[in-house]
Homo-oligomer: 133 residues x 3
């Protein structure tokens, strides 16, 4: 249940590219964390150029007008190694999918306990037992 919201510049990526972005985010969980492919819950939000601001060089990056902010609601139980794996994999796969620079992808992993997710029917399906994902 990591849930993505990718905030991208408006009118920059085609519909096909946005679908490829969603596939890349899904695959980052599969390849980076061994999560089932069906666990695919993704939002993309477009922002006009007066609505999305990423400093062009902060922390030694060379950001372009492709730059985006990706938030991930990630299981709060994830250790540092998992966080590194998912950030690295998101970056690599989104770069491949969209042809953007690795410097253009800002990621924030927001910790949320697994027991706080409802996949439907109003139930908190992961409230019982050890975390699976």
């Amino acid at each position: 249940m990591p849930v993505f919201n990718a905030h991208v510049p408006a009118n920059r990526f085609s519909s096909q590219q946005k679908r490829a972005l969603a596939d890349a985010l899904n695959q980052s969980l599969v390849q980076g964390l061994g999560i089932p492919e069906g666990d695919r819950f993704i939002m993309i939000s477009e922002h006009g150029e007066d609505e999305l601001f990423l400093d062009p060089t902060f922390m030694g990056m060379q950001r372009s007008s492709d730059a985006m902010i990706i938030t991930v609601l990630l299981g709060a139980h994830r250790p540092m190694g998992d966080k590194r794996a998912v950030a690295e994999t998101i970056n690599r796969l989104v770069v491949e999918a969209l042809g953007v620079s690795p410097d253009d992808i800002f990621i924030a992993l927001i910790p949320v306990p697994n027991e706080n997710f409802s996949f439907g029917k109003g139930e908190l399906q992961l409230a019982e037992g050890a975390p699976r994902w």
Copy 2:
């Protein structure tokens, strides 16, 4: 101060339905957690069909093109019973309000300490005393 952001498919729900969705989310706090009706802070975001992806069957659901993701900034002090109550009530009331399937509502409860909210004037009004909501 639970704050909602409902991410829904674009051009799927009428303006009247979006207002009914907001009312349902507000009532989920009133009925599910005994929160005052005035505590009503709600965002709705529309996403095109190339911007919102929920797997059609993951975790045993039958999701349709009505499927939505609702995030809730919820007091971090809430015990499991409150989480279950609010998820169940959101689902029931949104199903009633929009006529969608119970399987179409994905919910993520993001824990935020009460002391982290400002209702206006730049003050953190809930920083003192025991949590009320």
Copy 3:
């Protein structure tokens, strides 16, 4: 790396005002927390009048149709004093920048550990050492 998402009423603020809002949010970190000016990662989202709901009077405010919800992904290590400083500074500077009422600014500070941010290249740049920001 506090990251902002300002949810504002659609067609209410000009492009120039939205840029001034972003500047005010950036300056709230500089002036309120001593964070470097280059740490500027900001999203603005517009919502139609059937998509953004803030109760007009809850908690003793007089909210208008300018009312907005600002979320901030803030370092989870921040003590209460820092939270108060940033909320106060956001409110003051946004009021100055947009000419809105202090009552019209709702803020939620969402705690995120510093180690959970990637500024680019898929690395978690703040994972090592004591929190700087």
